[in-house]
Each structure stands twice: as C-alpha cells, then as structure tokens.
C-alpha cells in the first residue's frame, strides 16, 4: 500500500475524530448531550484499558507464553463484576469530593497533603512514561510494517520523524479537547466521545481479523481447536506464581492506572453507569481476547519464523493480500494507541498542574489568589504539562530504541501503578490509615519497584551495573535487585510484585498504626470511609464567620470564571433563604466552595487558597473533641447541635437584617412624605411666583416669554413626578397592561443609549458592547424593557465617578433566560446600601444633585418583576453593576 494513501487514511481518520469530539463538545455545550453520558459511552470509554499493548502485543504474548496473556483481562473482570465492593465506593467518593485525579484522591484523603500528591504524581509520571513510549513505538512499528515487504516497496521516510509527528498530533488533540474548561467534573465530552468511537473501531478491527483467521484461513472453530493443540503454543505450561501474580497486578492496575481512574471516576461518576459497565466491560474484554490465540496460532503457522509476532494482527492479513482488512487493523491499532495516550496525558497533566505547578506558584506569589488570573495559569500549566509528558514519552522512545517486547514494558507500568493500591484501598476502608503511613508505603513501593523492576528493565549495565545483579550492591548479597533477601528462585516480575506490594503494604500499615493523624486528616478519613452515610453533617474544618462572602466570590471567580461563580453563589444564597448573590459564609458553605474549587485545582491547592482568606484551617475545641471521641453518637449529637446552632445563628442574622431593613424603611417612610412634599412644592413655588408676576402684566414681552417657559418647564416636572408615582403604584399592584411582542435586544440597547445620552451630555462615556451576542430576539414588552435600560444607563451616566467613565454591557442567554449586565468602572455602591437602592426615594446622597426623585430603580424593579424577570445588584464587579434578567419568551398568562 502506498505511503501516501496510508497517511491520507490516517489524517482522514484523525479529522473524523476531531469532528466527533467537536460536535460532542458543542452538543454538550448547549445541554443536549444526555446520550453522551449514557452507560454505553461510559463502558466504551473504559476501553482505554486496551491499548496498543492489547491490540498488537496480546498476540505476541500468546505466541510466547500461551494463555498467560488472559490474566491481564481476567483480573479486571473480577474487579468489575465485584464493583459493589470497591468501584462503587471510589466513584461515590470521587463525585462527593470532586476528585480530579488519583493523586488528588490520595492527597485529599490524607488531610489534603500536597506531599502525597507529589509522590503519586512522580510515581505515575515515571511509570507511565515508558508506557506512552510503547504506544508511540507501536504506531511507528505499524507504519513500518506497511513500509517493508509490499510490492510497491517504499521505505519509511524516518522512524523518529513519524514518532514525533504522532506525538505532536496527540498533544494537539489532548490540549484542544482536554484543557478547554477547568472543572474536571463537567469536562471533556469531546475526548470521551472520541475515545468511545475509537473503542468501537478497535473492537471491530480485532474481531474482523479474528473472523478472517478463523473462517477465512482455517475451517471454523473446531479446526482452530485442532490447530491450537498441534501448535507450539500448546507446549506452554501454566506457571502458578505468574498466573496468580499477573492476575493480581492487572486487577490492581485497572483501578490505579491514572487513565483508568480518570475515565472511571473523574469523567464518569455515576453508579448506575457502573452497574451496566460491571458486565459490559468484562464482555468487551472477553471479545477483545476471543481471537488472540487463533491469530497467534495461524500466524506462527503461516508467517516466516523471523516475523515479529507482536505485529501478526497486521502482517497476517497483509500477507494474505487482504489490503482493506489490514487497513482496518492498522486503524484499530492506531485507535488503541492514540486513545490511551490522550487520556493518559490529560490525567497526568492534571496531576502535574494541580500538585506540582500550582503549589509552587502559590508559594512564590501568595497574593495571586485574589488578584491574578488563576484560571489562565492552571490551564496553561496543563497545556505545558501535556506537551512535557508527550515529550518525555518520545524521549524515552528515542533512548530505548524501541526494541523490547511490548508485553514487558506494559507489565512494568502495571506494577508501578499498583503501588498506589494499598494507600487507596486503605484510605477508603480504614479510618486508621494515616498520612505518615501512606507516605511511607508509597515511597517504599516506589523504591522497591524502581530497584527490582524498573531500573533492571534497562538491561545489564543499563542503569544498574552487571556486578550488582550478580553480587548485590557493595557486595551485599541479600540486596541483589532480582533476589531480594535471598529469594532467588522466583520469576523476576513476580519477585518484584511480591516484594514491592508486601513492603509497601507493611510500611503503610505500620506507619499508620504508629502515627497520630491531624484533625483535617481524621475528618477526611471519616468522610471517605463513611461516604455512604447520607446527610453527613460531620464537623466542619472552617471557623465560622471570618470570611467576607464578597472576597470569597472574587477568588472563586478567578478560578471558576465569573459566570459559574456567580451562579454557584446565587444558588447557595437561595438555599440559605437569602436574595441576591452573597450567601453567608457559614462553615458548610465554605466547605462546599472548597470542594467546588477542588474540582478545578485539586483538594490541596483549594484548601490552601481558602485558608488564605478564611485564616488557618481552624478547628474548634468541640470539633476536635468530637473527632477524638470517635463514637458515632457523639459525632452525630455534636453535628446536630451544631446544625441547630448554625440554624439559630443564621435565623438571628436574618432577623437582624430584616429588622435593620424595617428600621431603614420606617425612616424612609417618614422621609418619603417629607420628600414627596418637597418634590411637589418646589416646582409649585416657581409656578405660583411667576404666574403672580405675570398676572400683574407690566412686563416686557421678552421676560413674559422667559417666565412663561419657566412655568411650563416646572409644570412638566410636576407631571413627570406624578406620572412616576402613578406608574409605580400601577406596577406594584400588578394591574399593568403589557404589550407583548418580539423585540431585539441590540435595537433596544441602541435606543436606550441614544435616549440616555441626554443625561449629563457633557460627559464623554465609553460604552463597551459585544454586538453579536446582543442580536437576540425576546418576546416581551419592548417599551417597558427600554424604560429599564434607559434608567440603568442614565444612572451610570449620572453616578459613575471615574475620570474616564466606562460602561460595559454584556448580554448572555442561558436556559431560556436572557441576562443583560450593566457594569461601570466607578466606585460602585457600598455594601450597606446595596440592600436599599431598589426602595422608593432611596437616593444615596441626600441631595437632589441628579435631579430625579429617586424612583427610577424602584420602577425598574417593578417593571422587571412584571416582565417575569428581575433586576439585581451584582457585587464584586469593580464598579456599580446591575443585572437585568428576563425570560426569552414571556407568556401572557404569566404577565
């Protein structure tokens, strides 16, 4: 097959994936993506377990060691059909604690310790780099297969160049679809869908090759059965230690590989999906392994003995002249490799950015949590991490020369990933597991794994000199890498599994037993282990009432983005029974906010950032007692007391606020009468005085005209005031007549800006608008809405006290509602006044310098209520900011 066609097919396929990912992302963006979160897609996304190692390597594995390859799929099968034990709990914890990666899980469980996060990240990056290299290698190899041995005869231009193109393409894909949004919980629809498509492609490809082998080259199942018995594969004898060890390590890997954890817990996170996957994923694995042995057997029969069995899936159809089938197989292998690399890169990049880059960055510049663009930094860190991880993989590929059999690299990575298992399982089932123990266990596992398996994999004299293998370091015989403590009769892989897991688990257990965990750690421990207890009102880690909600909002905005942060705060405020955007900073709320932030930057970083505002993670004496006492009753009792106390405090605060408002209102009521008298009498005075003067009748005509005009103006002023009062009373009684029709927001804003221009026309005002987003048709009363717009814009013109005043108008559409924000760059409105500005005659400066009677915002509020929407003050925007919200379509019966 010509090289050009091969490349063209590849590029077309990748373009198709891009399209799928793009469409999925778009549909998810407009909320029409329920099927994207279906159990089927979830199960298919789990298939990132089957990498190129499965697709190509399993056949080679079977050719070398018979049925042993099955252990790699039997282990995960046991884990999934036993999902009720472990997976369910992991997924529930992942959702509740908004876990972003396996490193985050460990760090969060053990007291939000960033050190543990760093250890797990390091372990994962080291273990996964060869694995990623392996994928690059297999893609390059499969290119090479097409290059040689075809009649067309072309040579692969350059292996390294191929690998680097593949790596760069994958980096691009991961960055485009993996680092768009920050919150790991609502992200990556595009990637997941593309992975699901690739899962189908690789299954279909492998089944097609298998079917061809069984029914095309052999005479059906019974013939294959006979051929297996006659083939050299049958000489293989099951080695009990490897059989058991590999099944164990693959079962461990399926939950602790970063990419598996990512698709299973971080991206997925629904227990009902897990129920379906519990049998569907094993079925997928079974189908993937069904034809491995037949392909290996027929390949051994037909291919020259020099052929690499790792490439039989590809070379067998090619040799039989099945070009199309070979192409399909090639795409299958390509899918396996790319999906693995993409997910692995995203998972590792999340770890690196959350546990290495962010903490360092926060340490260097502690003030940025409030002022800097945290979001941008995190996203940039992820992007750079993805590139770095792929560069590492490529570097390893170049360095190792890509010669080792696929299976051995995969197994080394599995054993490395499995080192997280003791800390993870201990963490979710054992309250006594402590940070010290987990750290000790992880380090021990990492060291033993590196010493007995990873470093020896570079070969004699690779990293460890040959004499160390033979005699041990410094001649200490019982420290030989592959015969630790004199255990020399073992298979090196099993040897490494046994020693690393035993030493890891023992260090973890002993370290936990002999250390005393801190308060945050114990709380997290309880939250993780008892995750299934409903309505956990455990002790909170935050002292009450120290944080200003507005400060918290500003910080949340820097991480989550302005809109989601405002939405979150508004929802929480409503839950507390408050209007507006600022909930009370109760411990529950701060806790919730921390978890929400943890979904973006990881638990440890989120905790550190919140502490900067709230103060240290203050635990009260009672709470410590509750933890120390450990009995569930006392915990619950104290939790209930605390909840009651919180309730009381909140009610008291609400009462106080209500009282404050009432007092204010009563003062305003008095002021109102006096005010209305003033407002009516002032124009009346001029009218009366001048009409008397005119009656006397001996004035020059010029003065008559001038005084007549004054009387006229004052009469109009009087009329306007009466109009406003009448308007307000009609609006308040809800008897207003609305003229519903279609109106364009952009047109309305144009009109409003023109009309409001006469307010203080001498001021130069910069208006910032985004015209395309304004081009929106709403069904409402256009005149009424215009009235509100004019009012809000005039207010900005009147009161914005900046030297170069600016007004930013932002229009957004979300879930059938339109919001229009008017944000100026002035001083804004002080917090204590924000509650009363919508009241009648609530002019903030008591003088009528602006000429109005103080009814404008009160009217706006009533108009918006009549239009089925609202107008409210947006705190924390820098200047005075108002948001008018209204439904896209106003029904008459609502009106």
């Amino acid at each position: 097959m010509p090289f050009n066609i091969l490349v063209l097919t590849c590029v077309t396929y990748v373009a198709l994936l891009f399209l799928v990912a793009f469409v999925a992302e778009r549909r998810a963006g407009i909320g029409r993506a329920r099927w994207l979160r279906s159990p089927a897609v979830y199960t298919l996304s789990l298939s990132v377990y089957c990498t190129a190692w499965t697709f190509y390597g399993a056949v080679g594995y079977a050719a070398r060691s018979g049925l042993e390859f099955l252990t790699i799929y039997l282990g995960p099968t046991l884990v999934f059909i036993g999902w009720w034990w472990v997976l369910r709990k992991l997924v529930r914890i992942g959702r509740k604690q908004r876990v972003t990666s396996i490193a985050d899980l460990i760090s969060s469980r053990f007291g939000k310790s960033n050190l543990l996060g760093v250890i797990v990240t390091l372990l994962s990056v080291v273990a996964m780099t060869p694995y990623i290299a392996l994928q690059l290698q297999s893609v390059t190899q499969s290119f090479g297969v097409f290059a040689s041995g075809t009649p067309e005869g072309w040579a692969l231009p350059n292996r390294d160049a191929t690998a680097i193109w593949v790596a760069a393409g994958l980096a691009l894909f991961s960055i485009l679809f993996g680092t768009r949004k920050l919150d790991a919980k609502e992200q990556h629809h595009g990637v997941v869908t593309a992975i699901a498509v690739e899962a189908v492609v690789k299954l279909v490809a492998l089944l097609a090759v298998g079917g061809f082998v069984v029914w095309g080259l052999a005479d059906g199942p019974s013939d294959i059965f006979r051929r297996i018995t006659e083939s050299p594969i049958s000489d293989w004898e099951l080695q009990p230690d490897r059989w058991f060890g590999l099944m164990f390590v693959s079962a461990a890997a399926v939950i602790s590989l970063p990419r598996m954890f990512h698709v299973m817990v971080v991206e997925g996170g629904d227990e009902s999906h897990l129920g379906r996957a519990s049998w569907a994923f094993p079925a997928y694995l079974m189908l993937m392994s069904l034809f491995i042995v037949p392909i290996a057997v027929v390949g051994l029969e037909r291919m020259p003995s020099s052929a690499n069995p790792d490439m039989f899936v590809l070379t067998l159809p090619l040799q039989e002249g099945q070009g199309a089938l070979a192409m399909l197989a090639f795409l299958g292998g390509f899918s396996s490799a790319t999906s693995m690399v993409i997910v692995e890169a995203i998972a590792l990049a999340t770890m690196v950015s959350n546990h290495v880059v962010m903490p360092v960055w926060l340490r260097l510049r502690p003030d940025v949590a409030m002022t800097g663009d945290v979001r941008g930094v995190v996203l940039m860190a992820r992007r750079v991490s993805i590139i770095a991880i792929l560069a590492l993989g490529y570097g390893y590929y170049r360095m190792s020369g890509g010669s080792t059999a696929l299976a051995s690299i995969g197994l080394i990575a599995f054993v490395g990933a499995a080192q997280v298992l003791p800390a993870m399982l201990g963490g979710i089932f054992w309250r006594g597991a402590s940070r010290f123990g987990a750290g000790l266990g992880l380090l021990m596992g990492l060291i033993v794994w590196a010493y007995t398996l990873f470093l020896p994999s570079f070969g004699d004299d690779g990293v460890i000199p040959a004499h160390v293998f033979a005699l041990g370091p410094f001649g200490i015989g019982w420290l030989r890498p592959q015969a630790l403590f004199g255990v020399s009769g073992m298979d090196p892989l099993v040897h490494a599994i046994v020693w690393s897991m035993v030493l890891n688990a023992s260090a973890f257990a002993l370290g936990s037993i002999f250390s005393f965990p801190g308060p945050v750690e114990r709380m997290q421990g309880a939250a993780f282990v008892n995750v299934f207890d409903e309505d956990q009102t455990g002790p909170q880690g935050w002292a009450r009432g120290k944080a200003e909600p507005e400060t918290l909002l500003m910080m949340a905005g820097r991480i989550l983005g302005e809109e989601p942060a405002l939405g979150f705060f508004e929802a929480e405020a409503r839950r507390q029974g408050k209007a507006g955007f600022l909930p009370d900073a109760t411990p529950e709320f701060v806790e919730l906010l921390e978890r929400r932030l943890a979904g973006s930057v990881g638990a440890a970083t989120a905790h550190a950032m919140i502490s900067q505002i709230v103060g240290r993670a203050a635990v009260t004496v009672e709470e410590l007692m509750a933890v120390a006492n450990e009995t569930a009753q006392i915990m619950e009792y104290s939790a209930r007391l605390e909840a009651q106390q919180d309730e009381l405090t909140r009610t008291a605060r609400q009462l106080r606020e209500a009282n404050e408002k009432l007092t204010q209102l009563s003062i305003q009521k008095d002021a109102f009468l006096s005010q209305i008298s003033h407002e009516l009498r002032t124009p009346m005075t001029s009218i009366r005085a001048f009409s008397e003067i005119l009656t006397e009748g001996d004035l020059p005509p010029g003065m008559v005209a001038q005084y007549g005009r004054i009387i006229h103006d004052e009469a109009i002023r009087l009329t306007r005031l009466l109009d406003d009062l009448l308007d307000l009373s009609v609006l308040e009684n809800g008897t207003v007549q609305l003229n519903l029709g279609l109106a364009n927001i952009q047109t309305l804003l144009d009109k409003a800006l023109a009309a409001a221009g006469s307010t203080k026309p001498e001021r130069v005002f910069t208006i910032i608008r985004d015209l395309p987003s304004e081009n929106l048709f709403v069904r409402t009363d256009a005149d009424r809405l215009l009235q509100v717009f004019i009012n809000l814009i005039s207010n900005a013109r009147k009161y914005c006290d900046s030297d170069s005043p600016e007004l930013k108008i932002t229009v957004r559409q979300r879930a059938g509602r339109v919001s229009v924000d008017f944000i100026d760059n002035g001083k804004g409105i002080p917090k204590e006044s924000q509650a009363i500005i919508f009241e009648k005659f609530a002019r903030l400066s008591d003088q009528s310098r602006a000429g109005g009677a103080g009814l404008g915002l009160a009217i706006c509020r009533e108009v918006m209520a009549n239009l089925g929407g609202s107008v409210s003050y947006l705190p924390g925007q820098g200047g005075a900011a108002f948001r008018a919200t209204l439904p896209l379509r106003l029904d008459r019966k609502l009106a």
């Binding site: 003033h678 009498r681 002032t682 005075t685 001029s686 005085a689 003067i693």
Partner: protein
C-alpha cells in the same frame, strides 16, 4: 438701598424672588451653594439673608447657627424658606434662631411684606 443675600439652590425660585425684590428697590445677590454662605455674608454685609432649608454643601440650619454664634452677624435678620412640611422643621429653625419661617409655595406679596418687616421699613 438695602441689600438682600438670597441663598437658594433652585434657580427658578431664586429668579422669582430676585425679580420681586429688585422691582421693590432692593439690591439682591444670589448664591446656590450653602458652603460659601458665611464668606458671602462677611463679604457683602447684607441687611437681610433669605435662606433655603435644604441646600447642597451646607444645610440652612447650620448656616443660621453659625450666623448666630458670630457676634458680627448675631442680630442679622434671617428669613428661612422650605418646601418640606412645616412641624418639625419650623421648630428646629426657630431653635436655631431664625427670624422668620416661611413654607413654599408663598405668595409674592407675603414674601415682600416679610422682607420689609424684617428690614424695619
């Protein structure tokens, strides 16, 4: 010719009073802001001050208190105008030492009569 200092922030009302008094032979100067009131009094040495209660800068009551506290202007006649309801404001004004209190709207004849009376003409 006697001099009247008129401190009133509504330009139309100020114009009406100015016209009425000027026609009657008074010299009238007007001021819109309360803050400059004391300086203007010392400067112009008016025979009568007409003062609005609600002024930007400094309220009418405060100005009266300052006038009464200053020996130079201790006896200066002050006519206070207000558009607010009477009651409390009138009491406060009288306590502060206003010579006469008048609510808006007023008849032109009344204001002329009051000014004449206060000036002792």
């Amino acid at each position: 010719m006697s001099h009247v200092l008129l401190i009133e922030d509504e330009p139309n009302i100020a114009e009406a009073i100015r016209f009425i008094l000027t026609r009657d032979g008074w010299s009238v100067s007007t001021l819109q802001d309360g803050a400059a009131a004391m300086a203007a009094v010392h400067d112009q040495k008016p025979d009568i001050v007409i003062l609005d209660l609600m002024l930007p800068g400094r309220s009418g009551l405060e100005i009266v208190e300052s006038l009464r506290a200053d020996p130079a202007t201790h006896g200066l006649p002050v006519l206070m105008l207000t558009a607010k309801g009477a009651g409390r404001e009138r009491e406060a004004a009288e306590r502060a030492g206003v010579s006469q209190f008048m609510t808006k709207p007023f008849s032109n004849a009344d204001i002329l009569a009051s000014v004449r009376a206060l000036a002792g003409r």
